[in-house]
């Protein structure tokens, strides 16, 4: 099978869905002729024109609120691009409240069929407000779905599914993954929303990760294997809905859990996942759950400090050893 990058896979998903359904359109800053800050919308302006690939003012509230309004008014499927995930800070009302609550609050109508794509994560020297992973903010929200693909294959299949989904989907793409190459079918396929993927089977410990951290977890698991420790790596892929079945099955097998994410620890995804496992699988657990995450400080600019800040394979290995000792 041919190999393309994560960014190209996303581009292909957008292109295919826009060809398939003329209610799909793109809104964002510099998504037109420029092709998006990470090149994800490259060539779409030329193919679909300015009506469907809309360069917006620098107005994140209007991008997301406009998308919600267009969807609520009936039958449109906007895909919004935020230049960076950090900028959710200026459109939380539109995502968290409007997209997430307008269906329920209005008694079941309308469907808010929007996708909010947002590049997240540290890629070296971005500093505190250009490097964040803000998924925990939306984990606490209601009415949203949230996807975090780690491979080009999933990027295409999940984005296509997100666009077809009638619910609002927040779609986080890690900046360092855009250049990652992988096998991606040239034809139409979907990756089901809400299904995790077991990336490596193992029996001693379960490592739960998503987005870039999946690759760090696999790296850690391969090193651990050489040391005689069998780690199972689960790529969550979807944070809302969370694939509890796959998580619980693995926990029942290993009895030990490490959760790894790039965002800082306090109130992060690990807290929620750990709590659900404790509530539902307490008897299967052989010891406490460990969270491998960034410290609770803003992301530093200095690349040296940033490396110190970020979770990596080594820190995941430390986490695994910690849970195995207890």
């Amino acid at each position: 099978m041919r190999e393309i990058t994560y960014a190209e896979a996303l581009n292909e998903a957008l292109r295919e869905e826009m060809e398939r359904d003329d209610t799909v359109f793109i809104m964002g800053q510099d998504v037109g002729k420029f092709g998006g800050i990470f090149g994800v919308t490259k060539g779409l302006y030329e193919k679909f024109g300015q009506k469907r690939v809309r360069d917006t003012p620098l107005s994140e509230s209007a991008i997301i609120g406009g998308a919600v309004g267009a969807a609520a008014a009936g039958g449109m499927r906007p895909v919004c691009e935020l230049m960076l995930a950090d900028f959710v800070g200026v459109c939380v009302d539109e995502i968290y409240n409007k997209a997430g609550k307008w269906k329920y609050m209005h008694g079941g109508t309308p469907d808010i069929s929007i996708v909010v794509r947002a590049p997240m994560g540290a890629k070296g020297g971005g500093g505190s407000e250009h490097s964040q992973c803000p998924e925990a903010l939306f984990m606490h929200g209601t009415g949203l779905k949230m996807l975090v693909p780690s491979t080009p294959y999933d990027a295409k299949g999940l984005l296509k599914g997100a666009i077809r989904d009638n619910d609002p989907v927040v779609f986080f793409e890690h900046k360092l993954l855009y250049v990652l190459k992988g096998q991606v079918p040239a034809d139409d396929y979907l990756v089901p929303i809400g299904k995790a993927a077991v990336r490596k089977e193992g029996t001693d410990v379960t490592i739960l990760a998503y987005s870039l951290m999946v690759h760090k977890a696999i790296e850690a698991a391969l090193t651990l294997e050489e040391q005689g420790i069998s780690a199972e790596v689960i790529d969550l892929r979807s944070l809302i809905p969370l694939d509890l079945e796959t998580i619980f099955t693995s926990v029942a097998k290993t009895g030990r859990v490490v959760i790894a994410h790039e965002a800082n620890k306090r109130g992060g995804m690990g807290a929620e996942i750990s709590a659900v496992i404790s509530e539902q699988c307490f008897k299967e657990l052989k010891g406490p759950i460990a969270r491998v995450a960034a410290p609770d400080v803003p992301i530093p600019f200095s690349p040296d400090l940033e490396q110190l800040y970020l979770p990596n394979a080594e820190k995941i290995i430390t986490g695994v050893k910690l849970v195995l000792e207890k």
């Binding site: 003012p57 509230s61 997301i64 609120g65 998308a67 919600v68 200026v90």
Partner: protein, 330 residues
């Protein structure tokens, strides 16, 4: 445009409906049948009715928290509005919205809980109409206070630059809750802000329903013709408190309130009808009695409606409800 007798009588009837329904709702607050905040628009009727009536059923409407009159004028039955505020299943949002009422079958998209969140939604609805090539318009009501929020700038600018069919109607009643406009703005007219977006800004007497109707009608025609948005500002006054938990006298002189009551928009149109010989006192009285009779029936419907079933707590969160949601118990 021609102002016909039937148009004037329709405006009069809708304003009365608006006024009396809200007066009844105020009583329901005292009876503890309406819960949560009720923001009455008594005094605003020339705007809520006069600016909503030029809309078609398929046009989109978003408004502020003071939206009872607009909803009534757009055709939502009083029972479904009052029932919504009472948290009953007859409510237009099944009792799940309360003040956030909506009715998608009538183009009523709702209100933003964060005041001023509606500008960008209206722009989006206008974008939808434009992309689909329909001649629908979106109407966005707002108070002068929210024109100080970022989404005002973002929504109006985007609507302007894309020539979206949106009409932004400011119900300027001088006070954002307790804060006087002069404390928070250096300009007198919100409509003056239109100049910075390159669109028309129009100031009208917000207690003159005919002036409002005509100005809005013109803006609607302009929007339908693809010429883009307009800001219309009507100067008016709310007679009540910001909501029914306060009476508005801590920060406003009683004399000021009284003076505005003398400028009642309903009495004004009543006088116009009688003085010009358009209608007789008897005719108007008949209309009033019909409106009251209808409202009583509607209130009964709301009052007799059951509360939502417990399972409603969990429905309508998602279109595809396969998402894990915790139950009430552990």
């Amino acid at each position: 445009m021609e102002i016909t007798k039937s148009l004037m009588l329709e405006l009069y009837e809708k304003m009365l409906l608006n006024r009396i329904v809200e007066e009844e709702m105020a009583k329901l607050v005292i009876e503890k049948k309406i819960f949560g905040a009720l923001h009455l628009g008594i005094g605003h009727e020339a705007l809520s009715v006069g600016a909503t009536l030029p809309m078609r059923k398929d046009d989109y409407l978003v408004f502020s928290h003071r939206g009872v009159g607009h909803s009534l004028t757009k055709g939502i039955p009083p029972s479904q509005i009052v029932g919504e505020f009472m948290g009953r299943s007859i409510g237009c949002s099944k009792g799940k919205g309360g003040v956030h009422l909506s009715d998608y079958s009538r183009g009523v998209l709702g209100i933003s809980g964060s005041q001023g969140g509606n500008f960008v939604i209206a722009a989006g609805a206008g974008l939808r109409a434009k992309m689909k090539g329909t001649d629908q318009v979106a109407m966005c009501f707002f108070g002068e206070g929210t024109s100080n929020r970022g989404p005002f700038h973002e929504g109006v600018n985007m609507a302007a630059v894309w020539k979206l069919p949106v009409i932004f109607v400011c119900e300027n009643d001088t006070y954002s809750f307790s804060t006087h406009q002069k404390q928070v703005m250096l300009i007198d007219n919100v409509a003056d802000r239109a100049a910075s977006y390159g669109i028309p800004g129009v100031v009208v007497d917000g207690n003159d329903v005919l002036a409002v109707y005509q100005a809005v009608n013109q803006a609607v025609e302009r929007a339908r013709a693809g010429e883009g948005p307009t800001i219309i500002e009507g100067k008016t006054y709310r007679w009540c408190g910001h909501h029914e938990f306060e009476d508005g006298t801590k920060y406003r002189d009683k004399a000021e309130i009284e003076a505005w009551k003398q400028k009642c928009p309903i009495i004004r149109v009543e006088k116009q009808l009688i003085n010009y010989g358009t209608a007789t006192k008897k005719e108007l009285k008949q209309i009033e009695e019909q409106v009251k009779e209808n409202i009583q029936k509607e209130l009964e419907l709301a009052n007799n409606s059951p509360v939502p079933k417990p399972e409603e707590l969990f429905t309508d969160v998602y279109a595809n409800p396969e998402v894990f949601q915790r139950g009430i118990s552990l």
